[in-house]
Symmetry: C2
Subunit: 103 residues, 2 copies
């Protein structure tokens, strides 16, 4: 899991919006394009970036390619980054403390 690549993927607002949509249900490229104002090719490239970062998975179903979110990867990356930032000082001071149970 490449945290830098994942955060680079999360850099873009449209991609975070795509993730928000995919957090509810699996969607195809045109589904997402319809939910945005944008074109299918634009969505397709965003999905490609997300996929290479490991954040989404693609599965073809007939003509459509359905994308779904890899929650574990996303949450894992957030947790890792959080621990990198939270780590050095706090672990020295308070070994057992985690900021929040979710991450």
């Amino acid at each position: 899991m490449n945290v830098n690549r994942i955060f680079a993927a999360l850099a873009s607002l449209p991609r975070r919006q795509i993730i928000a949509f995919l957090s509810q249900t699996a969607l195809s490229t045109t589904d997402l394009a319809a939910r945005f104002g944008t074109s299918a090719p634009a969505v397709s490239r965003h999905l490609s970036v997300l996929q290479h970062a490991g954040l989404v998975s693609a599965g073809r179903q007939g003509q459509r390619v359905m994308y779904r979110l890899n929650r574990d990867v996303l949450l894992g990356a957030l947790a890792q980054f959080a621990s990198e930032v939270d780590g050095p000082l706090r672990r020295a001071a308070q070994p057992a403390r985690t900021p929040r149970e979710a991450i």
Copy 2:
């Protein structure tokens, strides 16, 4: 706390590196510029972005301006984004309600 602004700030690799440095200790602009290969003005603008996002705080000490990381803001934003992604489906799918400590 503006999650979009925070993620936009986290988009940049140099800024995440700055955050990594500041997670260890407070540093001045030139301190950070020395740790990078980059110039002071470049660092200064990155720090400005981070500060407007609320991720770092500045405090002048004599000639120097010391920057330190606002861990709570950063970790809070990560937790909020995580809960947004983690939330909808899991709360709907899980028969037992997940306690919402959502921040």
